[in-house]
């Protein structure tokens, strides 16, 4: 295992010939962290973000053991001296500028919000870290899962909405929407014109008459005002037996495993009683 506190005097200059495969990869975004953990042995990872450990516990228990962490700050680039940095479009610009100054290649990976962009992200990271074959295998497995799912598509799709009680629902162009569609459901939030997360209150929810509501559980389950609203008594009264609990972690990042999340969701859809809500 490589120590996170490599000597600051480690020689890094343009003159040093780079190895074909980067050996000290630093990832500054949680979703990239997870793809990276799937593609390269952990000895080649300089650090992943502090956020990755909870998600890794869900997707690949143990894979992140002993991998140093970073907090997405510029100083850590100097400290950890990576030979490749994976960033997202939102990575702090100070960190990027610094990466450019110390002459470390930076690869920006777009956030994956549907299955096409998951393929793109996995292949892009695979190419950057020198593991294109492994990336291709991950994509193939995901596409096989999706094809199996499409073959069993229900005749009458369920109309659902993700209800978290915070006044907004994921709509068009979100990963959640892509997973619902792949699972054979219709996301009511996506019908609204304003893409991304659109505002949606309890009155809208009742007026939309969804067949089922989806509620995320997991790390976001700590008590808050909007959790209290999500548990509004009218929800329990009207959607008894029509609530689908899904793991928040599975919907946070576009990953090859998102196809598995869609498969689990399709199973949950099948368990919802037919015939629509009762008002």
């Amino acid at each position: 295992m490589l120590s996170s506190a490599a000597p600051a005097s480690a020689p890094v200059s343009a003159a040093t010939p780079r190895p074909a495969k980067p050996q000290r990869i630093m990832s500054m975004n949680m979703c990239n962290d997870l793809i990276l953990l799937m593609l390269v042995p952990r000895e080649r990872i300089a650090s992943i973000t502090s956020l990755a450990h909870d998600a890794a516990k869900v997707f690949m228990p143990g894979a992140d053991e002993g991998v140093p962490i970073n907090h997405g700050t510029a100083e850590e680039i100097l400290l950890q001296r990576p030979d490749l940095i994976l960033v997202s479009p939102w990575t702090m610009s100070a960190a990027r500028r610094l990466g450019e100054q110390v002459d470390t290649p930076i690869v920006e990976v777009e956030e994956a919000t549907d299955f096409a962009s998951i393929r793109r992200a996995v292949r892009q990271i695979g190419a950057a870290v020198g593991e294109p074959a492994r990336a291709e295998a991950l994509v193939r497995r995901m596409d096989a899962d999706l094809a199996a799912l499409a073959a069993r598509r229900p005749r009458k799709p369920l109309r659902v909405v993700v209800w978290s009680g915070d006044g907004s629902v994921p709509g068009r162009g979100t990963l959640t929407d892509a997973i619902i569609t792949a699972a054979g459901g219709i996301n009511i939030g996506a019908r609204r014109q304003d893409g991304g997360y659109s505002s949606f209150g309890l009155e809208d929810l009742l007026a939309a008459r969804p067949d089922a509501i989806m509620q995320g559980v997991g790390s976001y389950g700590a008590p808050s005002l909007h959790k209290a609203n999500a548990r509004h008594p009218v929800i329990d009264k009207l959607f008894a037996g029509r609530q689908i609990a899904y793991p928040d972690a599975g919907y946070a990042c576009g990953l090859p495993q998102s196809a598995k999340a869609a498969r689990d969701l399709a199973r949950a859809f099948a368990a919802i009683p037919r015939g629509g809500p009762r008002w």
Binding site: G165, D166, G167, S168, D194, S198, S199, G201, L202, E203, D204, L206, A207, R209, S219, Y220, A222, P223, S224, L225, H226, K227, A228, N229, H232, P233, V234, K237, L238, R278, W279
Partner: protein, 326 residues
Amino acid sequence: MSRLLWSSAWVLLLIVLLLSLAVGRVWLPPSALLDGLFAPRPTLGGLILTELRMPRTLLGLLAGVTLGVSGAVLQGLLRNPLAEPGLLGVSSGAALGAVIAIYFGLATIFPLATPVLGIIGALLAGLITFTIGRGGTLTMILAGAAVSGLAGAGLSLALNFAPSPYAAYEITSWLLGSLAERSWSQTLLATPFILAGLACLLSTLRALDALTLGEAQAASLGINLERTRLLGLFGTALAVGAATSVTGSIGFIGLLAPHLVRPFVGHQPSRVLLPSALFGAILLLAADIATRLIPTAVELKLGVLTSLAGTPFFFWLVLRLKRTSP
């Protein structure tokens, strides 16, 4: 207050109550709402009316009355035209208490924790302001500003430490207040405390009238000043604390309502109290209706509108004070 004014105030209250039941994000004709009320099986109109808009309207009514009454009592008790739960830090203290109860899981174990901690927060904030601020209009307001600032900072700090990732995002709800999507259970949990607080506040009426003559004169009339102060403080803490633990802190209503009615009813506190309660409710419900009518992507917070309406009045009050005081 003349009969005509009284009856028009009641009519106004009735209008805002009905509007509050009729207006929402989903537009339904009043007939659909009424039909739903008596339909044998649940209908959209019935559900929206009974489960969403009724508890919201009742909560708005109670919170408005609370703010109107506590503003009037505090102004009489402290003989300070700027006294009101928001400016004295009582509302922020209550919001801090409620935030601690909700975000750290106390409320899920024990639902009463929210109003109770709200009341404790209000009481502590009120005690500090009352103790430090004694001695004049200015010192009381300064003490109130200090306590408000402290409680507001504590609230942000608590929300940043809270385990929920949504907590920081919900700071605005607590600092600006909102009645959106509150349920019957939340409203009914706070109601007994609000009513008990209002009873305490109403019991100070005779003493407040006597206090207009000055403290020594009131004492010579047999008024127990300490008891009156305690009743005012506890009443405010109970009513404002419980209401704020559901709505978040709502500013300016408690300041505005008594001043609005004084030109019509005179300055005797016992005459100001009920009209002030009425106008507190009218103002709060009207502001809440406006949050639903103004087309924004995410519903406006109540405090945005009460502050927009309240601050010009505040300026006027400051200018008037400058003119009248030496």
